[in-house]
């Protein structure tokens, strides 16, 4: 069973790679899989991924978290402050603590005082936005390079590393060859793409990125393989049943929200410490909500969130690196949906045939007719995709059953 599943996954990936590679060679857009694009995409994926995981932890324990954006803002500010004062590692720690503060406020408001979870989240967003502005006025105004809307630049950055032998990293002063870079430069069918993708994932990687990626398997393990995780999820699925088994639902919700806030804070910290070297007002730019979108897109599962975050990160990354390759992206989507269409026809899946056919036709028409996509429209891509996913796959999405419903222990139900 698992073997055939692995085999299918392998087949899927090879087909996808073949399509990507053909499109790259056909349109002559090397940026599609260049290590530059992939590297940028990875950097942009990290904050979205962490925000999505923050949403996961909150909703799995039964509390909606609209306040991720605000907790991220706390993370950017406190992270930048810590990094400015004591260096980047302490900065990341402060970012996590800042986010946890937001999570704690949310927990006290929703779990202790039972106020509406959406309202609490909205107020936390506002509170964070203006709260850090107040702090900036107190701390940053008058400092060199600082002001009401930004912090002074940090002196040092987090170390980055290249994988030795594969991507030209150094081992004890010996500069090893950059094998993947060499492979990428050859532009061979599939192999060149593999080289570009692998080099993008191993070249000049920040340690913060590694931490963010590790969060995914660790969260999956804790939530689905430990006693703590089972109890936490049960307080999101059926708090009444959980309580009858002696589980302290509200305490678990506190834990869940503290972890959620910490992850959101870390997401903010990567923005103000890794992606740039100072805090700036509006730095989060709605990424907390994109994170929420990836959580829905990923069907409240870590692997799905990772996929969604990578998709949005890639779309944003390719826009930054090579904005003219957007049209190649249309061809890519057309070919992908074409492949799915064939699969759906063979397997007689009528619903999927309709869906993939319309996707295929739309993207094919877009490829033939559209030369440039205005920047302003591509920005809304994650949100549009989320609404489409919600509208088409709503039946198959399965959020935690009791997320959003206040729970009062000891009261009759």
């Amino acid at each position: 069973m698992t073997q055939s599943k692995n085999f299918r996954l392998f087949g899927l990936i090879s087909v996808a790679l073949a399509i990507v590679s053909s499109v790259r060679l056909w349109t002559d857009q090397d940026a599609l899989t260049s290590s530059d694009t992939i590297g940028t995409a990875l950097r942009l994926t990290v904050p979205i991924l962490l925000a999505g995981m923050a949403g996961l932890w909150a909703e799995r324990c039964g509390v909606l978290n609209i306040g991720i954006e605000g907790m991220m803002i706390f993370g950017t500010w406190f992270g930048a402050w810590g990094a400015w004062q004591y260096g980047p590692w302490v900065g990341l720690l402060f970012a996590i603590l800042g986010g946890m503060f937001g999570g704690l406020v949310h927990a006290v408001a929703t779990v202790r005082f039972n106020i509406d979870q959406v309202i609490s989240g909205v107020v936390i967003n506002l509170f964070a936005y203006f709260g850090v502005r107040y702090l900036s006025e107190l701390v940053y105004v008058g400092k060199k390079g600082g002001g009401i809307s930004q912090s002074p630049p940090q002196k040092s950055a987090l170390p980055k590393f290249n994988l030795p032998v594969l991507s030209g990293g150094e081992i004890a002063g010996w500069k090893s060859p950059d094998f993947l870079g060499w492979l990428e430069a050859r532009r061979w069918f599939i192999l060149g793409d593999l080289g570009g993708i692998a080099r993008g994932l191993t070249h000049s990687i920040s340690w913060a990125t590694v931490i963010a990626i590790i969060v995914v398997p660790v969260s999956a393990w804790v939530l689905w393989r430990t006693r703590f995780g089972l109890r936490l999820r049960s307080s999101g699925e059926s708090p009444v049943a959980a309580e009858s088994l002696g589980i302290k639902v509200n305490r678990l919700r506190y834990y869940g929200l503290l972890i959620s806030g910490g992850l959101a804070g870390l997401a903010g910290g990567t923005l103000s410490i890794v992606a740039s070297s100072y805090y700036r007002q509006g730095q989060t730019a709605g990424r907390g909500f994109i994170g929420l979108a990836t959580m829905i897109f990923g069907n409240w599962r870590p692997s799905g969130i990772l996929t969604g975050a990578m998709l949005f990160g890639y779309a944003e990354g390719i826009k930054l690196v090579a904005s003219d390759s957007i049209t190649a992206l249309f061809l890519l989507i057309a070919s992908m949906s074409g492949a799915f269409l064939i699969y759906a026809i063979i397997r007689h899946k009528r619903n999927q045939v309709l869906l993939t056919l319309s996707a295929f036709l739309l993207s094919a028409i877009a490829y033939r007719t559209i030369d440039t996509v205005p920047e302003s429209l591509t920005q809304s891509l994650p949100y549009v995709v989320t609404l489409i996913v919600l509208a088409t796959a709503n039946q198959r999405l399965r959020p935690p059953a009791m997320a959003g419903v206040p729970f009062r222990p000891g009261e009759p139900h």
Partner: protein
């Protein structure tokens, strides 16, 4: 007997509203104390700050500014409150009013009508386009069951980029060499006259009128009863034959229509055009806080909007006396958080008391029978 009942009901509702008022006032005071502690921690003297706010705020000049700043907040809060009354959370007021501002500002330049009709035309276009944007969320909820909280958040961001795109490609007025980042100015016939020259626009009266209409429609009409019933107990409402889907559609359309008016004080009262930098943003979220503070009641909303307008009007002067002006916004956020918590706690206590009384009286009935 009947009279006795009705007088009892009157005193009950009286006690309830007193309870509400008392808890709101207590919450504001508590929030000010919390803010005072925050100020103390950050090394500022809270008494001096509050003194400054009162001193500068209580002048006739600032009074007009307070009303001016309260105007968009009233619209936005009522838009949010209409949704709240039906348990719908319209976070999308932000996107709805910005979309409405752009469309109505542009449409306003394409017609030539006598003054009052021109203004009315722009207001109606604004309301229709606000409702149109809100209808996306309504349709998604009715046909696909998508939660309006998520869809309106997404639609806010979609609106922002969509508006930017329409503005840059179609509506931007390049007549003076691209310096003017606005739509074409609306002709004088389409402008709302000022109440007090350059200080207070006529839109303030419109805002009070909308608040009155909101009271009539939601609290005194059959439709409003159905709306509130669907919000309080959807299952009972459906059993009583109130069409749930139609109510969702109407509530969101109405909410979007009022949201469409939020930017009007700027579009037809001040700038006479839409511009990405001249049209004010963030009022959608501020409206949520004002609606919460005013407990969705028209009178409460007007008072809450004035309180926030008052605080906003003092921020510039605070800056001069070395108190960070953002403290005003922090105070607002804390007020709302505390108000919501206190309201929840007091209504729970109130409900428990009612339940205990009911239990007691049913027990005594049992004994008698």
């Amino acid at each position: 007997m009947n009279q006795q009942l009705s007088s009892k009901r009157n005193s009950d509702s009286m006690r309830k509203s007193l309870n509400t008022l008392g808890s709101s006032v207590a919450a504001v005071i508590l929030a000010l104390v919390i803010c005072g502690v925050l100020l103390l921690i950050t090394g500022k003297n809270p008494l001096m700050a509050y003194g400054k706010i009162l001193e500068t705020g209580l002048t006739s000049e600032k009074f007009l500014e307070m009303l001016k700043r309260a105007t968009p907040l009233i619209f936005s809060a009522i838009a949010v409150a209409i949704g709240f009354k039906m348990n719908l959370f319209n976070i999308g007021v932000e996107g709805q009013y910005l979309f409405a501002a752009l469309i109505s500002a542009e449409m306003g330049t394409h017609v030539s009508l006598p003054a009052p009709l021109h203004v009315l035309f722009i207001l109606i276009v604004a309301m229709v386009s606000g409702a149109a944007w809100a209808s996306i969320a309504a349709i998604l909820k009715i046909t696909r069951g998508i939660n309006e909280v998520i869809s309106t958040i997404m639609l806010n961001y979609i609106a922002l980029s969509f508006i930017q795109w329409i503005f840059e490609t179609f509506f931007r007025d390049d007549s003076d060499g691209g310096l003017n980042v606005k739509t074409t100015e609306i002709a004088p016939s389409g402008r709302m006259p000022d109440l007090v020259h350059d200080r207070l626009n006529g839109m303030f009266i419109v805002a009070l009128f909308v608040a009155f209409l909101y009271w009539v429609v939601v609290f005194r009409s059959r439709f409003g009863f159905q709306l509130r019933a669907s919000g309080l107990n959807p299952i009972a409402a459906r059993t009583a034959g109130i069409p749930a889907k139609r109510m969702i559609l109407f509530a969101l359309l109405l909410s979007g229509a009022v949201a469409g008016l939020v930017a009007m004080p700027s579009v037809i009262g001040d700038v006479y055009a839409y511009g990405p930098s001249s049209t004010p943003t963030q009022f959608g979220f501020a409206g949520i806080t004002v609606a919460l503070l005013g407990r969705n009641h028209p009178f409460g909303i007007v008072v809450a909007a004035m309180l926030f307008g008052f605080l906003d009007s003092t921020s510039a002067v605070l800056q001069l006396s070395e108190i960070p002006s953002s403290i005003v916004k922090v105070i607002q956020a804390i007020i709302v958080l505390v108000v919501v918590i206190v309201n929840e706690a007091s209504s729970r206590r109130y409900n428990r008391k009612i339940a205990e009384q009911a239990a007691l009286s049913s027990k005594s009935m049992d004994v008698r029978s």
